[in-house]
């Protein structure tokens, strides 16, 4: 039992699997983005080289600010995302969910954003603090539609919060994205996920043209490697979560594997296409977009789900 938990967390759906798949997904992201701009793009193992290089560089701690928070934030973020990946992965592949349900997962994903804020605010750099502030605003903006969209599978599967029930409902009644409420909720969730990953058009906290690197500006060397790894791991956690909630799960046997990989690539490429075809929005535009348009849409999806459409 303990061995299984350790294997889940450290190897298969947990750290090793998510990190390797995330680095490869990051390569897909960079390559597709490069092709969008008529460039060739980096080689396959580019992100591995980047992370190994960063791990071997000097660690610089800033003189001002809170040092232990500065060090703890990326490491805690890594732990949080590994836990999230373990719970989503075990639910998708083995139906165990590592003892977690949707509420714990939402808490973990929100906690990751809070860690970015803490890490960004700790060194006392102006750009970094501004980035942290923007991250708070973005979290405020995207959390409501994301939770509402995630409520739709919960409502449809008979008000059950555990992943097993959602997957079992979809196994019996077809994927949720094929129904009206599910499709609307999926679109809302996809856009909210875009903001949760702070990818364009919602890369307001990082905003390289105004804030240089946002919350990560003072990070260098191994600590930056952990932030980069976290960002790559999110490219696995969020698409897997969307597959779990709306696209009817991921079967490891036979043709199900191929079908699952296709679903994952489809969602990943959708995210990359949204990323590459939209310029950055302002903070107020983003909040207005999420609160004025997406939240009512998500609420409508919840109402439709209650009606059973």
């Amino acid at each position: 039992m303990t061995a299984q938990i350790l294997f889940d967390f450290f190897v298969f759906p947990g750290i090793v699997f998510t990190a390797v798949l995330g680095l490869l997904a990051g390569w897909v992201d960079r390559k597709v983005s490069a092709r969008f701009q008529y460039r060739v793009g980096p080689p396959l193992f580019q992100n591995f080289n980047d992370v190994f290089k960063l791990l071997g560089k000097e660690t610089i701690l800033v003189k001002t600010g809170n040092r232990w928070l500065f060090i703890a934030a990326p490491l805690a973020g890594f732990a949080v995302l590994s836990l999230a990946a373990t719970s989503v992965g075990t639910a998708l592949f083995f139906g165990r969910a590592a003892g977690m349900d949707l509420i714990v997962l939402m808490y973990l994903l929100m906690f990751y954003s809070v860690l970015i804020v803490l890490g960004g605010a700790s060194p006392g750099n102006v750009f970094s603090s501004l980035g942290a502030g923007r991250e708070v605003k973005l979290l405020l903006a995207d959390e409501l539609p994301f939770i509402l969209a995630c409520l739709v599978p919960v409502v449809r599967s008979g008000y059950k919060l555990d992943f097993g029930a959602i997957l079992a409902y979809q196994a019996g009644h077809g994927m949720l994205v094929a129904s009206v409420s599910g499709a609307v909720a999926f679109v809302v969730a996809l856009l909210a996920v875009q903001a949760k990953m702070a990818l364009p058009p919602f890369h307001i906290p990082e905003a390289e043209t105004e804030l240089v690197a946002g919350p990560f500006i003072e990070y260098g060397g191994p600590l930056l490697a952990f932030w980069k790894l976290n960002q790559f791991m999110m490219l696995v956690v969020f698409p897997f979560l969307l597959i779990l909630l709306f696209w009817g799960g991921f079967d490891l046997r036979g043709l199900g594997l191929l079908w699952g990989i296709l679903k994952y690539l489809l969602i990943l490429v959708l995210i990359i296409i949204i990323k590459n075809t939209n310029p950055r929005v302002r903070t107020d535009t983003a909040i207005a977009f999420f609160w004025k348009y997406l939240s009512p849409l998500a609420l409508a999806a919840v109402v439709l789900a209650v009606l059973g459409v």
């Binding site: 460039r39 290089k53 930056l224």
Partner: protein, 139 residues
């Protein structure tokens, strides 16, 4: 260290240090990122923060006013870090060689590893310089 150096050679993140340039070299550096030259295929990426940098691209003649800041940027970068002088200015001082506020011994301000000649240097010349740096790293 050989293994690590090869990783480093494949992922050089460059940071732009403008030490009082005329901006011509800076424009040529940005050319490297365009579809025609696309240095991202060698893993070279332009970063905004000096904490993320592996290579400092110094453009411009380093004058008395900017010298302490260049020194500070070099000290802020996590080591190992390499310094490439882009253009004639950091190489020889160009036409500002005899100027009253040009720093005469630029090597005391920041230790250069590679120089690229030209005013401004062609993007091919800069790629050649980076390739030489990569060659040194690969041994």
């Amino acid at each position: 260290m050989g293994w690590y150096n090869r990783r480093l050679a494949k992922s050089l993140w460059v940071f732009h240090v403008s030490a009082s340039p005329c901006n011509n070299c800076d424009i040529e550096i940005l050319d490297l990122l365009t579809p025609r030259y696309d240095v991202e295929r060698f893993g070279i990426k332009l970063v905004g923060s000096v904490r993320h940098a592996d290579v400092l691209l110094v453009t411009g003649v380093i004058n008395e006013k900017v010298a302490p800041r260049v020194r500070r940027l070099y000290e802020q970068a996590p080591k190992p870090v390499f310094v490439v002088g882009i253009g004639t200015c950091p190489t020889s001082g160009c036409c500002f060689k005899e100027s009253y506020n040009t720093v005469q011994r630029r090597e005391d301000v920041i230790p250069f590893d590679v120089y690229v000649e030209g005013c401004p240097p062609k993007p091919e010349a800069m790629i050649d310089a980076i390739v030489k740096l990569v060659g040194v790293l690969n041994g």
